[in-house]
């Protein structure tokens, strides 16, 4: 597609074939520890920071060891759509940076990004009090700088977006932490990264409102036995509460230090 608005490289270019060491990477060593030392139900350490974009109403940056995501929230501002809407509407757009995945992603929006945007919209809408903002729109723009596992990316994006909306001072019922899990030959790997994700038979992403104890969104793919699913949901809600405390600190610490 001769996109005249960008500097053109060659028509077709392909990633080189990287000769890897033949031995298969061991996911689990003998005492059930994963490659980076955490065991099955541990999630990666989260670094969360707000107030990153000076011109946005609210913004947040989340980093899970290798996954890096930035989110900017603009609004509430005038709705452009012609229909009169009694309550505010939400518009989410997620974008992978071209260098974020092992294989270079095209700069224009592809179907996966559209699907992820819709999932984030569904996860956040129950938690935001849109009825207080008639005729205005809240725009959430998320850019994924580095992707280490698409499911955990989606979960991190939901957490980050929820913190950014709170940072924008928009009234919310509750913060929405989200967490992902992968089923790899019968075991539940919490918050799996790219290599583990390649070997998963199914995955689960759960967004949860801890203080209201309500689940806003569940997405499960791949076939999994029933008891494994319920156990995974159990583990996800626990780690969501852990994430919840990190979100609260990221919002309150800057204010307390300032006072």
């Amino acid at each position: 597609m001769a996109d005249r608005r960008r500097i053109q490289g060659p028509e077709v270019s392909v990633a080189p074939i990287i000769l890897k060491s033949p031995n298969k990477i061991q996911l689990l060593d003998e005492n059930l520890c994963r490659r980076n030392g955490r065991n099955l139900e541990d999630i990666r350490s989260i670094y969360l920071k707000t107030g990153l974009i000076s011109q946005a109403n609210g913004s947040a940056f989340i980093e899970l060891s290798k996954t890096k995501i930035v989110c900017g929230v603009y609004g509430p501002r005038q709705t452009k759509i012609p229909a009169f809407s009694g309550k505010g509407n939400l518009n989410c757009e997620i974008k992978f940076a071209p260098f974020s995945c092992p294989k270079r992603r095209p700069p224009y929006r592809d179907s996966q990004e559209k699907e992820l945007s819709q999932l984030i919209y569904e996860a956040l809408t129950p938690s935001i009090r849109l009825d207080l903002l008639p005729k205005s729109t809240i725009d959430i723009y998320i850019t994924i700088l580095e992707n280490d596992g698409t499911a955990s990316c989606l979960a991190a994006a939901i957490t980050c977006a929820s913190v950014a909306v709170a940072d924008a001072g928009i009234e919310m019922l509750d913060l929405v932490p989200a967490c992902s899990a992968s089923y790899i030959n019968g075991q539940i790997f919490m918050d799996s990264d790219l290599i583990e994700e390649k070997r998963e038979s199914g995955s689960l992403v759960l967004s949860y409102m801890p203080s209201l104890k309500e689940i806003t969104h569940i997405l499960q793919s791949g076939e999994v036995e029933l008891n494994l699913t319920s156990q995974a949901i159990e583990q996800c809600t626990d780690s969501c509460s852990k994430i919840y405390s990190i979100m609260i600190d990221s919002l309150l610490l800057p204010i307390q230090n300032m006072k």
Partner: protein, 282 residues
């Protein structure tokens, strides 16, 4: 102004020129800097692991991430040994309310074009060194610069980001298998690029024809439309002079800008220096 007194914020919204003029009368700028002072600049290299080379540059609040990914392609008919270097700037609606979703805005296109011209004309990277097998396989370096936070003077951040990312690139050793026509690369041996020149930029803007503001923020950029950008390299030579908008620029202004740009070069080189030192320590 009428007898009404406004809060600073409302005053800035209603009368932006007046607001800036009142600051400049006292030789100070809205964010507290003097006229000649650059914002605090930080660089950190290799922050994105899925790239062959990457860098994050912050000039004050303006934050830019440059990632370079290498792929393989067939060279052009007319220049069979030349690889490709494809820079592109992405100003997403996330970094500032000015930008709308959709294809790149005019501002993004002009940034990409000026960076492309700089790379070609200042011969920073000899494209023939990207050749794997003449006539059939060459490296293509896609340099994508994503703006995370837009607070004025994005061009400087993009150029510094690109140059530091290029110096951070490590290309795997590639061999071209004749028969299947495939390129195989081994990760053990990583070769850095040799850059023949490391140009760094400095941007100024002139307000009301008299004040020369260094490294303008978004507030100043939206009001002072006369922009001068000077890029010089380590030998003190100049790679680019770009001056647009406004009729009050005289050779005296240009001389002052060039001398400040040279000082700025030393400043940036020092910052990148200790970043590289601290980088290969760990």
């Amino acid at each position: 102004m009428s007898t009404q007194t406004y809060e600073a914020e409302t005053f800035r919204k209603l009368q932006p020129q007046e607001y800036l003029r009142k600051f400049l009368l006292k030789e100070v700028r809205p964010d507290g800097r003097e006229l000649k002072q650059f914002r605090q600049t930080t660089v950190n290299l290799g922050c994105i692991s899925t790239t062959n080379g990457s860098s994050l540059v912050r000039i004050g609040n303006t934050t830019v991430v440059c990632g370079i990914k290498a792929e393989v392609s067939v060279p052009k008919q007319t220049s069979t040994k030349e690889g490709y270097l494809v820079p592109n700037v992405e100003l997403s609606p996330m970094c500032s309310p000015k930008f709308k979703p959709g294809p790149p805005s005019e501002h993004a296109q002009v940034l990409s074009e000026n960076i492309n011209r700089l790379l070609k004309s200042a011969s920073i990277l000899d494209l023939n060194t990207l050749c794997i097998h003449e006539g059939s396989a060459v490296w293509v370096l896609y340099a994508d610069i994503v703006c995370v936070n837009y607070d004025g003077n994005v061009f400087d951040a993009c150029v510094i980001g690109l140059i530091t990312a290029l110096s951070n690139v490590k290309l795997p050793k590639a061999t071209f298998a004749e028969e299947e026509g495939l390129v195989k690369a081994t990760e053990e041996l990583l070769i850095p690029l040799n850059l023949s020149r490391l140009p760094y930029p400095a941007t100024f803007s002139i307000f009301d024809g008299q004040y020369l503001l260094v490294d303008p923020t978004e507030v100043e950029e939206s009001v002072a439309h006369e922009v001068i950008t000077i890029i010089c390299d380590e030998a003190g030579q100049i790679c680019t002079v770009w001056k647009v908008g406004g009729i009050s620029c005289t050779p005296k202004h240009l001389e002052k800008c060039i001398s400040i740009a040279r000082e700025r070069y030393i400043e940036i080189a020092a910052i990148v220096e200790n970043e590289e030192k601290s980088n290969n320590l760990i």
